[in-house]
């Protein structure tokens, strides 16, 4: 496999506080990569730097061959993002919201039309496609957020806390969708979460962040080995060991 994202010495400082501290790793094409860590560990800051939304203090990253500092637009072109707590234009319905994003991504109108209808059905909003988003529940908005992140048919999908606010059925649907996108489309998927069960079920590899640094990286089995986890210890125990809690 080829590296689709290369993170090189990436650092972000806010005054004396270092949010991301000289981080180095690569993400392979087609893998499902989990970014784990407590609040304030630097997960979202890393993602925002990868998309050029905040400039790094030091270091850089190469996203699908484009340097995030030198060619931010190129870097973004192949990435779909579902940010944490994604919002929409509440006076517009699902279809209008997705059409707007498709136009921004320069998806040809004929392609966009069909894709939008498919995506709305895929995320389970088929009966609500013409309802203004202002009337949606949090879970429905999150489903629409997933559809939005896929409207430009990205090579890389970045999901920040994607199952936040979604009910158990929706969470299960989401997992199936991620597997399908990875298997059938070969999409590279990066997601941050607090739900360790999801990571265990879905991820090919995981990076555990602590205070802006990478405390551990690898497959679940490799991570367990690195901290000499016993048979009786589950992934939660492993995660807490990396955090230095146990």
């Amino acid at each position: 496999m080829n590296a689709i994202i290369e993170i090189k010495n990436l650092t972000k400082k806010y005054g004396d506080f270092t949010a991301v501290d000289h981080v180095n790793y690569t993400i392979e094409e087609g893998e499902i990569f989990g970014l784990l860590g407590p609040n304030g560990a630097g997960k979202t800051t890393t993602i925002l730097m990868l998309l050029g939304l905040i400039p790094p203090t030091e270091g850089t990253a190469i996203v699908n061959g484009a340097d995030i500092i030198e060619k931010p637009l190129e870097a973004r072109r192949t990435v779909g993002l579902l940010p944490e707590g994604a919002g929409f234009y509440e006076n517009l319905n699902a279809r209008q919201n997705l059409s707007f994003y498709a136009e921004l991504a320069e998806v040809p109108t004929s392609v966009a039309k069909e894709r939008i209808e498919k995506l709305i059905d895929m995320v389970g909003l088929g009966t609500k496609r013409d309802v203004k988003v202002g009337a949606y529940s949090r879970g429905m908005k999150q489903r629409l957020g997933i559809a939005q992140s896929l409207v430009r048919d990205p090579k890389i999908l970045i999901l920040d806390e994607p199952t936040q606010g979604i009910d158990p059925e929706g969470t299960r649907d989401f997992r199936e969708l991620i597997r399908m996108l990875s298997k059938e489309k070969g999409m590279t998927i990066i997601f941050t979460t607090h739900v360790l069960y999801e990571v265990n079920k879905l991820c090919d590899r995981v990076a555990i962040m602590k205070n802006g640094t990478i405390a551990g990286i690898g497959t679940i089995t490799e991570l367990r080995k690195q901290v000499n986890a016993t048979e009786g210890e589950d992934f939660e125990d492993v995660f807490l060991r990396y955090q230095g809690v146990v």
Binding site: P55, E90, N91, Q96, L104, A105, E106
Partner: protein
Amino acid sequence: MAGLFTMAKKEFLDIIGEKKFLLIFATLLIVVLVSTFEGGLSYSSSQSSTVTTVTGNSTRPGDGGGGTFEAFGSAQSLSRSLSSMITNFSLVGGVLAIAISFDTINNERQKGSLKTLLSYPIYRDTIVYGKYLGGLIAVALVATITFLAGIGVFVSVTGLALTMDTVIRLLIFFGVSLIYMAIFLAVGLLLSIVLPLPSTSLLASMIVWLSSIQLIPNVGYAIAQILYPVRFSLANGRPSFATQAGFTTIRAIISGLSPSTAYENIVNSILTTSQLQFNSGSPTVISINVTQAIATSLPSLIYFVGLLIAIFAAAYVIFTRQEIR
């Protein structure tokens, strides 16, 4: 610029779909229609009274008999008769522009849609230009409808013949009104970028608007009064108030800094077609053509456009350098 018109179209649809927009638009339309109707009635009566007083003839406007005096009648009355429309436009038009733009950016940030937007392959310029353009189209729509309706009422009440000169003056009036609303649109945009919460930027925008319509003109008056106090005297047992030359100048300069006062000054100059001068005690009417009217209001016009560019430039620079967390 890729995405500019997509952004502007979305913004425009978003704005016109909002209840607050329709509410303020309806208010503006009603006050303008009422004020132009009243203005039209007063114009009609002033025409006959002016002609009677000055000429002593039975000449009526439009019959071609009293050219000079007719000019006097239509000259001052046009700007005077439309004065309440101008005032209402400066009040409600400013509010409408602010209502459209006060939460342009911070609402996106609060809702979480700004990060999504910025994750697309577009420059930040596109967002700020597109949003402003969308707002401007909405404002232009309001201004066009309100103007056509207002002037339509005025013309039907007064029976005023729309000469080329009048049409040019009204078009300039329309253009200046659009710039005036664009200034407040830019103020709202700037404050929505600088301030994190829509409630705070709304309050700040309203303070700017209030300063424009009330505070700055009052400050101008107060400073002029301090520097050049109005002199009170008793002449032949009668009280007399004399203003010093500097008073008017200082007051005009400071008040003119307010976009609302500058707007009213410019529009009044543009709509004034003649002036009455007293030479050796006898009144003489001097007609003012469009070029002269523009020349009179040129300093205010330059300030007006400069202010718009400065506010928008500040909004643009701050937004393009902001970190989106």
